[in-house]
């Protein structure tokens, strides 16, 4: 799985970037979400994969025993996911607002309108 997961993450990155490069607002959001997902998985995979053994200390022990997953990337990931959600939610609402105001779903047209003003 160590070999296949990077392939999948690479595909996610590619798809995310492809969507971000579009000028359609909705697709840009989709791209952002995909890119965020890919980045999280990237961190996770790079931090090292451990099957099973979650980073929890058993009732009988006072210290963790191998095999257990590296808790540091997980802690980072949790933060990243939550903050990523904040960005996603904000951008969705922002785009709704832009769409309502300008009646346009095209990033380029927004610019032109800006210049016209």
């Amino acid at each position: 799985m160590e070999t296949l997961l990077p392939l999948m993450v690479g595909t996610l990155f590619a798809a995310g970037l492809y969507f971000i490069l579009h000028r359609h607002l909705f697709k840009v959001i989709l791209g952002l979400i995909l890119f965020g997902l890919a980045t999280n998985l990237f961190l996770f995979v790079i931090g090292g994969l451990t099957r099973g053994g979650s980073a929890i200390i058993n009732e009988e022990q006072t210290v963790a025993v191998e095999p257990y997953a590296d808790p540091v990337p997980q802690a980072l990931l949790l933060t990243a996911i939550v903050i990523g959600f904040g960005i996603q939610a904000f951008s969705i609402v922002l785009i709704r607002r832009v769409y309502m105001t300008f009646k346009s779903n095209n990033l380029d047209e927004l610019q032109k309108e800006n210049e016209a003003q």
């Binding site: 160590e2 970037l17 989709l30 090292g48 099957r51 904040g86 969705i92 785009i95 607002r97």
Partner: protein
């Protein structure tokens, strides 16, 4: 000596305050400060005259060999005395020249800052120290040239001077660093000791080129001479002090300082003689074509600087003697003439030669000073200028070309001296110039002092000036036993003949000037292709070029910016991968593939097929659902590889995202394809490259995994110290609790933003 510098900086800093407190009496402390420094440097005189250098060290950044090392030898002391003596006179003069100027305090700030940095420059032994002071003189020169900030001419000239000398300064920095690498020393005294290594090092040539670039820009050598005449937009005291007597001689000083280290190879001598010779003749010729007093003086200054550089290029003991004596003589007479020109400007309101006649009646003292200085400039016995000129001829006797250069400049100097010392003051013209009746003591006293200085030093050249000049020459030639003999009268030698010939030719040239002036118009088209014009062309080209480049680069499209970032990122990554070429061990990889479980493959297949579907779909609702699917699948991976907390979060977040999406779906734009077909392929290409690179990077990182000590640490202490069994949770709420607080804050800010965006109502007066 550090305290001298600190004292100067302090005086500069308090100058505006003093001006506010003392009003016009601010001049008193500002004149006393340089006098105090002058006394301080005089106190070092006996030690230096015995041939010892006064050395002081203060460590600053020892790790980088950047230290404040001061070293006062004959050359430094000569310059330091000149700078502080001139400083006192110019400060005094300025109080009269700029009387009533509301910005006088600021002027004193700049001027004192300049004087201090100049003193630091000539006493610094560490190359970085010298560079810092060198740049400080450029900056203070910029501020002083642009002192009349309301005038566009002054601003342009200031900017030009800063750019030219600043770029030269950068070259100098690089050159000095190369030198210090070659000689393995960061001080000039250290470089001198390791001269053979420096000369043979491959860095010698680039270092010389860069150092010369720095010195030539600073000392206005051809083809960088153009900034100096423009710098005359500064108030006259500044022109006299910076752009004639001291700052432009910083380049000469550094060349003299480095001469014992770098001279020897032909490249040094030839480039100095070439640049200096061209500059000397060019300055002399251009000086005669102008009618503005300050322009004439500026061009003769350029010419004199050219002569000094030529002498340094010749490099013989005679030439070094001539260089140093002429430098002193020039500073004295040119300073006088500048100050007199300022006085004339002040009294008559003009500096145009053709409107100034018989000023001598009204400006007796200034006239006397100008005449004395002019006599020194022309090289008439018994002035110091005469001694200097004799030495110049003596040093260049062996080469006819050099002799010719000296003769041409000498003749032009005589003609200019006749203009400055005779024509405008004593010549009876057909019209009278209006002269403001009130003579100003502060405007004629300093030039008188300087002019008499030139006369006295000439008369007493044997006794008074000699010891210090001798120490200076010994420094430049690095020959501690060299004897300097100066005398007014050499007997009837060929050199005396040349001096007399110069005077006669100069007189002839002066008489022929009106006739020549009518024909000089032919040369006008030449000025349009000169370096000054080239500078402005280049400047415009640069502005225009950067404008269109920025417009091309920053076209306002999000995708362009993302694309540039990705291009750069991928390029950098590819470069690193290509350079280090760490391969991936594929055998090991294939072996690993055997461990793959079936359920893992199922989830993987789910993600990939969902992605493919997402790329093709045109429905917004479908794409939201598919996005959710991908999110849930990645959460499954977190579960499979021991991260239940992450998975839980991912499930929650994914659900929330889908809910928000669906709630707002009817208010979101419909799905249509907007980009061109060609763009699509471009996007696909860059995306695929990027994705492939990321995969490759991940595989590489996995192959060279670094064992984490943090994992072990948290595994040990999370229960014992923080009393929590779930290590991830313990990290989040305990070990890195502050980070989590930051995260919550970010979410709160995002929530505030969302809330206000939703509540914002354009129809009710809220602006979109």
């Amino acid at each position: 000596m550090l305290y001298a510098i600190l004292f100067g900086l302090l005086m500069a800093a308090v100058a505006p305050l003093l001006h506010r407190l003392l009003g016009r009496w601010v001049a008193v402390p500002m004149v006393l400060a340089p006098l105090l420094l002058l006394g301080l440097y005089f106190s070092f005189m006996p030690e230096v005259l015995q041939g010892h250098a006064v050395v002081q060290r203060h460590t600053w950044v020892p790790e980088l060999d950047i230290n404040l090392q001061f070293r006062l030898d004959g050359l430094s002391l000569l310059f330091a005395l000149l700078i502080s003596f001139f400083g006192a006179l110019v400060m005094f003069y300025a109080s009269g020249y700029l009387e009533g100027d509301p910005l006088l305090g600021r002027f004193y700030l700049f001027l004192t800052l300049f004087m201090t940095s100049m003193l630091g420059l000539v006493t610094s032994d560490n190359i970085f120290g010298l560079f810092v002071f060198w740049e400080l003189t450029s900056i203070s020169s910029y501020l002083l040239i642009g002192y009349k900030q309301a005038e566009k001419e002054a601003r342009v000239a200031a900017w030009q001077a800063l750019l030219v000398t600043g770029l030269g300064g950068l070259a100098l920095m690089a050159g000095l660093i190369l030198l210090s690498v070659a000689g393995d020393s960061y001080t000039f005294s250290g470089l001198l000791e390791r001269r053979p290594e420096v000369l043979e090092h491959p860095f010698y040539l680039p270092a010389v080129v860069l150092v010369l670039l720095g010195c030539f820009t600073k000392s206005a050598q051809f083809p960088f001479h153009f900034w100096l005449p423009n710098a005359m937009a500064a108030p006259t005291p500044v022109s006299a002090y910076l752009h004639s007597a001291t700052m432009v001689k910083a380049g000469i000083y550094l060349l003299a300082r480095l001469s014992p280290v770098l001279s020897g190879p032909d490249v040094w001598h030839v480039s100095l003689m070439t640049a200096g010779g061209i500059t000397a003749v060019l300055g002399a010729v251009l000086a005669l074509q102008h009618t503005d007093l300050k322009a004439i003086l500026a061009y003769t200054t350029i010419s004199a600087l050219g002569l000094l550089v030529t002498m340094l290029g010749i490099g013989t003991d005679e030439a070094m003697k001539a260089m140093l004596v002429f430098l002193l003589a020039h500073a004295l007479y040119k300073g006088t003439l500048f100050l007199v020109a300022g006085g004339i400007d002040h009294r008559t309101g003009t500096r145009d030669l053709n409107r100034l006649f018989s000023l001598g009646k009204h400006m007796r003292y200034s006239g006397t000073a100008a005449t004395l200085a002019a006599l020194s400039m022309a090289g008439v016995i018994p002035f110091l200028g005469f001694v200097g000129k004799e030495l110049l001829y003596e040093a260049s006797l062996e080469n006819y070309l050099l002799l010719g250069i000296c003769l041409v400049t000498g003749v032009a100097f005589v003609a200019v001296a006749l203009i400055m010392g005779y024509r405008i003051f004593w010549h009876k013209g057909e019209e009278k110039t209006q002269v403001h009746p009130h003579a100003h003591f502060r405007l004629y006293f300093p030039p008188l002092v300087l002019a008499f200085g030139g006369l006295l030093l000439g008369l007493l050249v044997n006794s008074q000036a000699l010891p210090l000049l001798q120490q200076g020459v010994r420094t430049i030639t690095a020959d501690p036993s060299l004897e300097l003999k100066l005398s007014l009268w050499h007997g009837f030698t060929p050199v005396l003949g040349l001096s007399i010939l110069t005077l006669l030719l100069g007189l002839a040239l002066y008489l022929a000037l009106p006739w020549l002036g009518q024909r000089a118009a032919v040369l006008q088209p030449l000025y349009r292709v000169g370096p000054d014009a080239a500078y402005h062309k280049l400047f415009e080209l640069f502005l225009h070029g950067s404008k269109s480049f920025i417009l091309w680069l920053q076209d306002g499209h999000l995708r362009s910016y993302v694309m540039y970032i990705m291009f750069f990122f991928c390029g950098l990554l590819l470069f690193i991968l290509w350079r280090d070429t760490p391969g991936i061990d594929f055998n090991d990889r294939i072996y690993q593939l055997q461990e793959v479980r079936l359920y893992e493959l199922v989830v993987l297949f789910l993600v990939i097929s969902a992605l493919v579907y997402l790329l093709g779909t045109r429905s917004r609702l479908t794409s939201i659902v598919v996005m959710g699917l991908i999110g849930y699948s990645s959460a499954l991976f977190y579960i499979l590889f021991g991260a239940p907390d992450v998975a839980a979060t991912q499930f929650l977040i994914e659900t929330l995202t889908v809910v928000i999406f669906v709630l707002l779906l009817h208010k979101l734009p419909a799905f249509i394809y907007l980009s061109h077909q060609f763009m699509k392929y471009k996007f696909i290409a860059i995306s695929v490259v990027f994705g492939a690179l990321m995969t490759y990077v991940m595989l590489l990182v996995q192959q060279q995994a670094i064992p984490s000590q943090l994992k072990e640490y948290y595994g040990k202490v999370s229960y014992l110290e923080a009393h929590g069994r779930n290590i991830v949770n313990v990290i989040l709420v305990d070990f890195r609790g502050l980070d989590t607080l930051g995260e919550i804050t970010v979410l709160a800010v995002a929530a505030l933003g969302i809330f206000s965006l939703l509540r914002l109502n354009p129809e009710k007066g809220g602006k979109p």
